[in-house]
């Protein structure tokens, strides 16, 4: 579904991404972990099309999307959430999701309205449909961020630390929602520091360090890997 090969992003001498290799099969949930500054969010920006890679290729469903603008990639089925939510503050919650269906999903007004209602019910935000998005709490903003991404009907969903800053109970609610999204057949790549959340849902965990993946595999194997512990978990010191 998603194949990254030799992906690099350099700002002058600074190599933010340096030879990223990753294959995400259809229907998988891949967790991406790594210390701060490892290049996780930058990787998402390159996959989504906000930044252009210096080298390497991004193939989505067999198609090279590396030169495509962000909105075209969204149309193809790649949606992402931002770590710091980017709501359309002066639109209603409903209109935020409607916009995603109309544009990313290329739906008619009627279809996009129906989609928005479904998605808002899924993320349990339907009772706040006509509220200004700028008036939402943090948890609701995270739900809206997810709803906006789902509104375009993505086949690949990129989640950037969506569980960060939530209480355990809130995090569990969010995990239930994301499980439902996965069961409906959406492939997910998820950057997260909340390991507990990833363990529950991710089939694969990939560890990014200094702009490259140093370990990829099943959560139980990767999380006990000596190098991963050293660079990330800080155990054994």
């Amino acid at each position: 579904m998603l194949e990254l090969s030799g992906l690099a992003l350099h700002f002058g001498a600074l190599k933010v991404l340096d030879g990223v290799e990753l294959t995400v099969p259809q229907g998988a949930v891949v967790g991406v972990i790594g210390p701060n500054g490892a290049g996780k969010t930058t990787l998402f920006n390159v996959i989504a099309g906000v930044l252009s890679p210096s080298a390497g290729s991004i193939r989505f469903e067999g198609r090279d999307v590396g030169a495509m603008p962000v909105w075209d990639r969204c149309r193809l089925g790649i949606a992402r959430t931002y770590q710091i939510p980017k709501p359309f503050t002066n639109m209603t919650v409903f209109e935020n999701v409607l916009a995603a269906g109309l544009h990313g999903g290329a739906l008619s007004m009627r279809e996009a309205s129906a989609r928005a209602e479904d998605v808002l019910a899924l993320v349990e935000l339907d009772h706040r449909s006509s509220l200004r998005a700028g008036d939402l709490s943090l948890l609701d903003l995270k739900r809206l961020e997810l709803a906006k991404a789902l509104g375009s009907g993505p086949r690949l969903l990129l989640l950037d630390e969506i569980a960060g800053g939530l209480t355990d109970a809130e995090c569990d609610t969010l995990l239930d929602i994301i499980s439902t999204v996965r069961e409906r057949g959406t492939t997910i790549v998820w950057i997260e520091h909340v390991i507990r959340a990833l363990r529950r849902i991710a089939g694969t965990i990939a560890v990014l360090y200094n702009g490259t993946f140093i370990a990829t595999g099943a959560p139980d194997e990767v999380l006990v890997d000596r190098r991963v512990k050293d660079v990330y978990l800080g155990a054994g010191q």
Binding site: V50, V70, F88, L102, H103, M109
Partner: protein
């Protein structure tokens, strides 16, 4: 319906009734003032569409007013075309000119775009000053015969030009309202609130910007023709006046409330009230206008409408969408 929204809409309807009755009751001087109000409203609506939604903060809007003025003069006086056709062609010429201008300034973003659009506008003004058939740098008055084609008697002409301005403003309001209600408008509103966020949900930012720029140009060009019918002459510094057709327009939109439908209407009203009150004070008029706009922006960046919106729970001119039905949310 909420009482505040109801009062606001009643005021809008009262305004529309006043405008429809204006030619039958107002003095020629009054009618000229309302004509001017309507053309400024059109300029404000278009600048708001560009700067408030599509993030094209242009300070070269006067270029298209000037192009429209010159094209109108050329078709009517030099080519001897039908007067109403000349008005339409002024809009068409502005649209044609907007293509190369767009190709130049869309390479730039934000502040660079602002400066670039200004440079392009000044260059076009200097070029207009080289056209000897249009009186060169000092401009030329419209021949009496050409003026009379809009109405033999002065009073008739004022009324005819007024209806022209009324039709243009109505078309600008209704069509832009329709645009904002469409799927494109939902995308533009998303762009207003977060450009990166809008791109991420699939809004084609490039296409949206191009559409807005092409949308605005013919309205600005026809406004230029109407302005020429009021001033009865073309001249580079007057037809391409940055103060009159760009700086005042920015004041209007900023005071009224950028990125809303109500803002430009409120701003244009405030602008004309202030101008008429301070008409005899010379340069103080500009100083007060500047101080008022700075004061309002410091209190509320979304202008007077932003302030009022704290008490008014809905849009007066509904552009939103609600679940389950395709009506406005208010």
């Amino acid at each position: 319906m909420n009482p505040a929204v109801l009062i606001g809409r009643a005021l809008l309807v009262a305004g529309a009734v006043f405008l429809l009755a204006a030619p039958f009751g107002l003095s020629p001087r009054g009618l000229q003032l309302v004509t001017e109000f309507l053309t400024m409203l059109v300029l404000a609506l278009m600048w708001n569409l560009l700067a408030g939604y599509a993030d094209i903060v242009t300070v070269g809007q006067h270029a298209f007013v000037g192009i429209g003025a010159y094209a109108f003069f050329g078709f009517l006086v030099l080519a001897g075309f039908d007067p109403w056709l000349s008005v339409l062609l002024a809009g068409l010429v502005a649209l044609v000119f907007s293509l190369p201008v767009m190709a130049i300034i869309f390479r730039l973003r934000a502040g660079y775009l602002a400066v670039g659009s200004w440079v392009v506008a000044e260059t076009l003004m200097l070029a207009a000053g080289k056209l000897s058939a249009f009186g060169g740098g000092s401009g030329v008055s419209m021949p009496v015969a050409a003026v009379k084609r809009f109405g033999a008697a002065t009073a008739d002409r004022y009324v005819n030009v007024y209806w022209l301005a009324f039709a243009l403003a109505a078309l600008a309001l209704l069509s832009t309202w329709y645009l904002m209600r469409s799927r494109i408008g939902v995308g533009l509103t998303a762009m207003r609130d977060s450009e990166e966020g809008a791109g991420a949900i699939g809004v084609n930012l490039r296409r949206a910007r191009i559409l807005c720029f092409l949308w605005a140009a013919p309205f600005l060009g026809i406004a230029g023709a109407i302005i020429t019918m009021q001033k009865l002459r073309v001249a580079p510094p007057a037809s391409f006046s940055i103060i009159d057709w760009t700086v005042y327009v920015i004041f209007i939109v900023v005071i009224g409330g950028i990125g809303s439908f109500e803002g430009p209407i409120i701003g244009t009203l405030v602008f004309f009230v202030l101008r008429e009150l301070l008409a005899d004070t010379g340069v103080w008029h500009l100083i007060v206008l500047g101080a008022v706009s700075i004061g309002i922006v410091l209190i509320e960046p979304k202008g007077i409408w932003g302030l009022l919106r704290r008490f008014v729970p809905g849009d007066l001119i509904p552009v939103g969408h609600s679940p389950g039905k395709r009506q406005g949310r208010a």
